[in-house]
Amino acid sequence: MNGTIVGVFVVLFGCVTILGFVAARWRPGDLDLLHEWGLGGRRFGTIVTWFLLGGDLYTAYTFIAVPALVFGAGAVGFFAVPYTIIVYPFIFMVFPRFWSVAHRRGYITAADFVRGRYGSRPLAVAVAITGLVATMPYIALQLVGLQVVIGAMGIGGQGLAGDLPLVIAFLILAAFTYTSGLRAPAAIAVVKDLLIYATIIAVIIVIPAELGGYGKIFAAVAPAKLILAPPTAASLGAYGGYATLALGSALALFLYPHAMTGVLSANSRHVIRRNAAMLPAYSFVLGLLALMGYMALAAGVKQNPAYADGFSHYGNNFAVPALLMASFPDWFTGVAFAAIGIGALVPAAVMSIACANLFTRNIYKEMIRPDCSDAEESRMAKIVSLVVKAGALVFIILLPLQYAIQLQLLGGIWIIQTLPAVIFGLYTRWFEPRALLAGWAAGIASGSWMAGTLAFKASVFPLSLFGYTLPGYAALYSLIVNIVVAAGLSLIFNAAGGERRDETAAADYR
């Protein structure tokens, strides 16, 4: 255990905890109303939204796992960069419409929109459940980021005592989310980002200088991993996986409830458009962080006996903490570790709030207590946010990490199946709700099956067409199945005629 690193980490963590509780009084609102607790009263301007979405989307797990993937697999791991390049033009074009209709009709979740647009309870519940199931393993993975830095600092012992720091961190998180709602992660995100930017600037200046320049860093990478394997006569090779992972992940990202929550808490549609131009700053940081995988290779941290224990515990996820410890003085390593640890709190808080909004509004109020009061609705959401986090904590302590990773992989395949109902729905009411539900089911089934054939270990499915293999992200392939089914059945149902319910009007989307 290193006193300086732990000291800096604990002090910064303590400051953020206080900030989380004080945040309840920031731009005060009646926290007994769900949109006040769960959307910050839809009052966040351009800058706060930038910090909140940045903290929400570029998570602690990302900061650990993306460099770890580059460290282990090379160029393939860099797909996170094209992914975050194309996501913003997509957001820019599509999500102002979503914000407008949600604002005008008082929707706080995607399922609310689907309920209003199609008047279909089964379809809305399907969208809500998909969001819940896809997000929960994601919360669990945030703990992994926290766990790795706690492990790197060497606090805690073996067995359950070893998990004590993690439990404490999560109790803190649960408490301030309960009292302050979305205001807490929004305030904390500002601090977290200042720490992240300080860390990354130090990394790109100090580490290449220590290692003898970028040329030396890339020379440490095996030539076969430096770029993607080109296609052969029988297969498109790594090209298909790389491009489809980027496109599929970009389409899926903003369907996640925590991303929706970030979008809907903005105070105008212009805030979303401005942020689509400003959020790429984080993508740039992510790209530089990805290169830390190669820096870790060049620094030879895996061969260093001091880190052998960490690598045996956490695998390649230990690459970034090891590199930081090897390259920086202890006090700065403490700052960097705090950035990662606090970076886990922000998305975990927003995700649990998003799950709470979904469950309360679209399942509890819809199916169980239709006449519940506003205060009861808000109270229920606060309790659900606790339950969701407790579930994530138990999951990560008691079950092998592999399960959380596999479930999160499946979550990406599932969440994209809500795209036709939500995104197409922003433009047209042509699709029939029963057809969308059938398409959703077909997409979930085919996508899960594809992942199953890969033993849930990978998500790039080797599709064979006329003897040529087209490897592609299972989420994208199953989305095509979904769209074909939904469009085909809509043709049939629409031809049959019948009542068409839609509480929204064309003007709501502008």
Binding site: T84, Y214, G215, Y239, A277, P280
Partner: protein, 70 residues
């Protein structure tokens, strides 16, 4: 209430910058166009600096679409 926006309002709200937003999709999804080590930039292989550069270009195009839109 008019059925469609008049030609005049359409002209006032330029649409072409939004079409430019499709360019980043083509640039980064067409993988063979950048899957190479050379030309390097300060020791960084093309594959990496080219994609990092597109983050900046894409943000610039989005900003342009914002400034000329609504």
């Amino acid at each position: 209430m008019s059925e469609k926006p008049s030609a005049e309002t359409r002209r006032r709200r330029a649409r072409w910058p939004e079409l430019l937003l499709l360019v980043p999709f083509l640039a980064v999804l067409w993988v063979p166009s950048y899957n190479s080590v050379e030309p390097q930039l300060a020791g960084i292989p093309f594959f990496y600096w080219y994609q990092l550069l597109w983050i900046v270009i894409s943000a610039g195009l989005t900003l342009l679409a914002y400034l000329t839109g609504e």
